[in-house]
């Protein structure tokens, strides 16, 4: 286990380094792109151009420019948006809790629902319940999440707002600390929308592994011993079927990003995705730089934590 952790830490450090170099290269040395023009946004003032030159040391050699960029992002944390004039880091820390509460709720929903859906479909293989669930799953993985969110808005804020969906507050965000009930009412539709596509993926994976494991000899033996079907499922089938499910959960933080950005934009949630979107539409590159690098680092680090926890649970992983 210690050697696994050491290898994993080393790997993470290397990954973080390469990611930061990629961000640097994309900003400062794509041939044909002038970093000053890129960073300053539309129609920059001469003072802005001079500020960018001195902040990022654009006449220094590239390695020093890289170190300077990293220093501004992680040590002095003093990058300023050239379009709004605001410090970037406080905006990121203010937006992070919104994104976390969106992701947290969505994960709870999609894990619960896809466990149930995958189990029902896997056990009833080929029957109508399975067919219907798999069709729904196929639709779920094929629907653009921003469109789904917009349709949910249309239904809950439009015609039905005065009858069935009167409990849905207008788009926006309140923190759970100030009004927990309002927070839930506000977030439940975004949670469902973000979870929907993942339910499609996860329930299909679980169904496939349940079907495979039900054919195993040890499951047949358990049935032959006269164990009841619920007991066979709970004790024998589900335990092993959950392994690919859980490993998918660990690997998949990165694929959440697209959904998070799009859902936040559609529902007007002021999280990191919204911050990135506003920065992208205003061509506010310093904000993009910080959001992207913090976002990517956060995802790589959480993947590492999940991997180590997973190796601790399942000794076979440590040998890989």
């Amino acid at each position: 286990m210690p050697s696994f952790i050491a290898r994993r830490l080393l790997w993470t450090a290397l990954t973080l380094f390469v990611i930061s170099v990629m961000v640097f290269v994309i900003f400062f040395s794509i041939p044909g792109i002038d970093p000053v023009v890129a960073l300053a946004g539309r129609n920059p003032a001469p003072a802005t151009v001079a500020a960018i030159r001195s902040t990022f040391g654009l006449n220094l050699p590239l390695p020093e420019q890289y170190l300077l960029m990293m220093k501004h992002i992680f040590l002095t944390r003093d990058l300023v948006s050239y379009t709004t004039g605001l410090r970037v880091l406080p905006q990121v820390t203010a937006a992070a809790p919104v994104t976390l509460s969106l992701v947290g709720g969505a994960v709870v929903i999609w894990v619960t629902v896809s466990l149930m859906a995958g189990l029902v479909a896997g056990v009833n293989r080929g029957r109508p319940a399975d067919r219907i669930l798999m069709i729904v799953g196929m639709v779920a993985i094929s629907t653009p999440v921003f469109w789904l969110g917009s349709m949910a808005n249309l239904i809950t804020q439009g015609g039905l707002h005065h009858t069935v969906f009167g409990w849905v507050p207008p788009p926006g965000y309140v923190s759970p600390a100030s009004d927990p009930l309002l927070w839930v009412r506000q977030m439940v539709i975004p949670w469902l929308v973000l979870a929907f596509g993942f339910i499609g993926i996860y329930s299909r994976v679980l169904r496939a592994s349940i079907i495979e494991i039900q054919e195993e000899d040890y499951v047949r033996t358990a049935r032959a011993k006269g164990l009841t079907e619920p007991r066979v499922l709970a004790r024998h089938v589900m335990r092993l079927s959950l392994i690919p499910f859980v490993s998918l959960l660990g690997l998949d933080f990165g694929s959440l990003v697209g959904g998070v950005v799009l859902v936040e934009v559609v529902f007007g949630l002021p999280g990191l995705g919204m911050l990135a979107f506003q920065a992208a539409s205003g061509l506010d590159l310093p904000v993009i730089m910080v959001t992207v690098i913090y976002g990517a680092f956060f995802i790589v680090l959480s993947n590492m934590v999940v991997d180590i926890a997973y190796a601790w649970l399942d000794p076979r992983i440590r040998r890989k």
Partner: protein
């Protein structure tokens, strides 16, 4: 005995590696034929192929629809235009009733000659734009999927065939790049290059048009396709027919292009429809955020973005492109699953066992 016959005979029964159906250079054509036959009798595959063909045909006929049916040009704004609803001539953009503030475009008339799906906030025919936008979305999706699979295959062949340090380095690099969340990477490259375009050596890509989204989307998914294809190359390299060819003194070029490549191609084919589904979804997401297709170009994503502001008054502007994307992606996913099943003999075997 020719080399091809030998490799066909040296085929091991079944396959340990999943998707590689066409084994041995000699067996290549017949295995693909077998797969095609399996596809032809699969009703889901045929239905999704039909739906896909229908969508492509509709989108390709966009200019015909605009010119001969709708009689509009769906690109310039048409704020002062008029159309006919229920036999009466009405302005395309009307002042919103009641409040006196704002303007509302004409809603769906369900009459293909006069704004079938209504107008957007610029007074343009949504139905005609939907077909034009579909051409863009499909073209970006298909070409970035093909470019992505091509680059990934070349890298995977190089990596798997060279082995050693080159293989280790390339695979590690791909793993690391894949650790970078794809959507963040796309946002990053799009925003940086949006003002000035991309200039990669002799290749110059302007900020308008489809070039920039195609380059970005095809590059970010290379590691995703690279990994399984490399695994395939490694598996095939250990096959007996390759060893037989080596024993016969085959050159590296022969091994690479006549023994390994044809057998890897089956796996690449499996990836293409699934990748088109992914790239279409990615393009629509980026375009919705305003960092994909740039005006005056239109794709399903930008049409949706235009319609979002009208969602409570004229919902069809936003509903229609979403339905088109969903139908296209569903048919691609179903087709991809069917192609995989058809090319994968193991899937057939396990089906028989049960």
């Amino acid at each position: 005995m020719t080399r091809a016959e030998l490799s066909a005979k040296a085929l091991p029964p079944g396959g340990p590696d999943g998707a590689g159906a066409a084994r041995g250079a000699g067996g290549h054509g017949t295995a693909l034929h077998r797969a095609a036959r399996r596809l032809r009798v699969n009703p889901v595959a045929m239905a999704s192929l039909l739906l896909l063909a229908l969508i492509v045909a509709l989108c390709l006929s966009a200019p015909l629809y605009a010119r001969y049916v709708a009689h509009t040009d769906p690109f310039p704004s048409n704020l002062a235009g008029t159309t006919i609803v229920g036999g009466k001539r009405v302005p395309v953009i009307q002042a919103t009733q009641g409040t006196g503030l704002g303007e509302t475009p004409v809603g769906p008339t369900w009459d293909p000659r006069h704004y079938l799906l209504g107008a957007d906030s610029q007074g343009r025919d949504v139905a005609a734009r939907l077909l034009y936008g579909g051409r863009t979305s499909l073209a970006i999706g298909a070409s970035s999927a093909i470019i992505c699979c091509t680059i990934a295959t070349i890298l995977a062949l190089a990596s798997g065939f060279l082995g050693g340090v080159a293989d280790a380095g390339l695979s590690r690099l791909m793993d690391i790049v894949w650790a970078f969340p794809v959507f963040l990477l796309a946002i990053l490259i799009s925003t940086v290059s949006l003002t000035q375009g991309l200039h990669l050596g002799p290749l110059s890509i302007s900020t308008t048009g489809m070039g920039l989204p195609i380059v970005i989307i095809s590059l970010i998914y290379v590691p995703y396709v690279f990994r399984p294809i490399r695994g395939q190359v490694l598996a095939i390299r250990e096959k007996e027919f390759v060893k037989a060819a080596i024993l016969q003194g085959a050159s590296s070029r022969w091994l690479l292009f006549s023994e390994i490549l044809p057998n890897v191609l089956a796996s690449v084919i499996v990836f293409v429809p699934l990748m088109v589904a992914i790239t279409i979804l990615t393009e629509s997401g980026l375009s919705f955020l305003g960092i994909g297709v740039q005006p005056p170009g239109a794709s399903w994503g930008t049409i949706f973005a235009d319609g979002e502001s009208l969602i409570y008054t004229r919902p069809w502007v936003a509903i229609a492109p979403g339905i088109m994307i969903t139908l296209t992606v569903i048919s691609l996913n179903l087709l991809g699953d069917a192609v995989r099943d058809a090319l994968d003999p193991r899937a057939l075997d396990s089906g028989r066992q049960r």
